[in-house]
Symmetry: C2
Subunit: 365 residues, 2 copies
């Protein structure tokens, strides 16, 4: 078991990483202030892990709220189910919410905790690779709006994050790959040696070898914790974590939530960002190809949907949260392992990148 610390003053909290931690209630007890606990999970995770977690929480008044599984349900109506459950069970301000599941469960539970009675405690117990290395750490919570992803939410930090890598053994291969998109992202934006490690260990990761998984999770969480500690509310550095996300969100929104997994859309978006960086002269064609090869080796799609036009991308990107006073800022790569955020690029170049034939790039690898 390893513990990292997210350093945010009085809002600091630990990330506890290991295998088979879910049944160890003593790991959670220090972070539960009252007697009431509400476990929020979804219909896929509940049959696998809910009972084990409930049993580990002997002595508390525990309720569970089971949401339908999927990004399509990350909306107000389903958030309301959490409030309904808490109010029906008369949970008060000292209740602790526990998010048991992937990114959707974590984002919704965190936002519910931020809003319920104007703020109660919550703990993240992420069960997908994507949520373990990304969404469970850093306090971004929220729901989608028909006009944009994550448009309604809060910065709200958990009291602790408990990562049980053993839960990945039941994760569908496609979702594991989606998580690897974010793992690769950390290498690209701030940790070039980690990129080398990933190239050597991508097979072990896809084979779910525990030591490789824990190493990848720890290095990813360490990178995220550093960035979040330096810039909690995304005024600068933290925006680099969105490499590939502006393009990716456009894909997700356009295709309808849930058709492309978040990590899949990010993978395609990452290659678009790499291509833009290449066109700006920051990455060589060979480095761009390296990015594409690693994403493909992780089992990810890198070619955006054929039906999406440049106009489609531009329209969706115009409502991105990274737009400030009308300027679209993009996260790009200055070099392998070094990201920057910039609005200083010719509009025609962005147009070219949106029109690039990514299938052709992949074909020549």
């Amino acid at each position: 078991m390893r513990t990292l610390q997210v350093d945010l003053g009085e809002r600091s909290y630990p990330i506890i990483i290991g295998s088979h931690l879910l049944g160890q209630g003593d790991l959670l007890r220090p972070y539960i202030a009252g007697r009431q606990v509400a476990i929020v999970t979804n219909s896929t995770v509940a049959p696998l892990y809910l009972e084990r977690l409930q049993q580990a929480l002997g002595g508390y008044a525990v309720i569970s709220i089971v949401l339908p599984d999927g990004e399509a349900f990350k909306d107000w109506q389903h958030l309301q189910l959490i409030f309904d459950g808490l109010l029906q069970a008369r949970h008060d301000r000292r209740t602790t919410l526990i998010a048991l599941g992937g990114g959707v469960v974590g984002d919704m539970t965190g936002f519910a905790a931020a809003c319920y009675q104007r703020g109660v405690d919550f703990i993240q117990v992420p069960t997908t690779l994507l949520s373990q290395v990304d969404s469970s750490v850093g306090g971004k919570t929220g729901i989608n709006h028909p006009l944009g992803k994550n448009m309604v939410g809060a910065f709200y930090q958990p009291k602790a994050v408990l990562i049980d890598a053993a839960t990945l053994q039941t994760l569908p291969a496609r979702e594991l790959s989606a998580g690897l998109a974010e793992v690769i992202k950390y290498g690209l934006i701030c940790d070039a040696p980690f990129l080398d490690w990933l190239e050597q260990n991508i097979v072990a990761l896809r084979e779910l070898q525990p030591a490789a998984l824990i190493e990848a999770i720890e290095r990813s969480c360490a990178a995220k914790a550093r960035v979040v500690a330096a810039d909690e509310r995304e005024s600068g550095l933290r925006a680099t974590l969105n490499l590939g996300h502006t393009f990716g969100h456009a894909i997700e929104t356009h295709m309808g939530y849930g058709k492309w997994l978040h990590g899949e859309a990010v993978a395609a978006g990452t290659l678009m960002a790499a291509q833009m960086s290449h066109r700006l002269g920051w990455l060589t064609a060979s480095e761009r190809d390296c990015v594409a090869r690693l994403l493909i080796a992780a089992g990810l799609p890198v070619v955006p949907p054929a039906e999406m036009t440049a106009e489609d991308f531009l329209q969706h990107m115009a409502v991105d949260k990274k737009v400030l006073d009308g300027q679209l800022r993009l996260v790009l790569l200055k070099a392998m392992g070094e990201a920057c955020v910039t609005a200083d690029y010719p509009a025609s170049l962005l147009q070219d990148v949106l029109l690039t034939d990514y299938a052709a790039i992949v074909a020549q690898l």
Copy 2:
């Protein structure tokens, strides 16, 4: 014009109080960071003051969002209208929301600002006495849930509060009285000399004499600012601001939002709290009667609805946010001008107080 400061470190902000301030855009400019402004108001206030405020904001890209008027619409569906308006106009993270209206508009706009893109700036421009002396200051925002009032929300401070007492000239007499319930509250919980002043000036206030109104607003805001600065998130002292509110919320919830105005329910709740304090030996019968007389002089009802049983009260109060680990804490009066928060009272005494014949108390005044 007078300016008070709410002292909350980096979240500090001014309360600017005066007459005919609404058309003075220069008062707001220092608190607007970007180019986009969204004025949120309601269908009653819009015809009276929206144009004046819009004209004062020349140079900004201003949209307005007009909600239906009333506590009955303080729900998620109507909050959604604010997000719809912001997204349709592509407002980004640097937008500033301005709440122009009463407590419902302020609470909803503040909560929308807390959640939109995980938090944008907002300014309170309260136009009712109740919102000027209470809800616009202190950062409590939120919406109602069918199972409880203000159950979903956030602590989120405005950048500034601009109070134009001249807007009270168009306020219905019933709503002015409702605001006076909160003004009287400040005297009761922490400012005995203010109680004396109120007894002498209650007629002037109901006649809307500007000097009296500004004095009452300033003393109320000063009291609230002191309490909020000492306890932003209501871990202790701030709870005293809820004198009469636990009983009052039960009345509002039971009767259906909007039938009793918030201030009216608080007035009846305040007499119940005074009676409880009397039964505990903290107030004399004459002091309790003094509370009743002042509330009545302010034009307020002090007898709870005849149809509400003690059981009704207990059931609604059990989901109050002041319940902690099953214990219902009440705000009571140790003396005139001194409040306390306590869960240390016999349950039978609460029962007696709920069953007290308040009409009889009023009859003997």
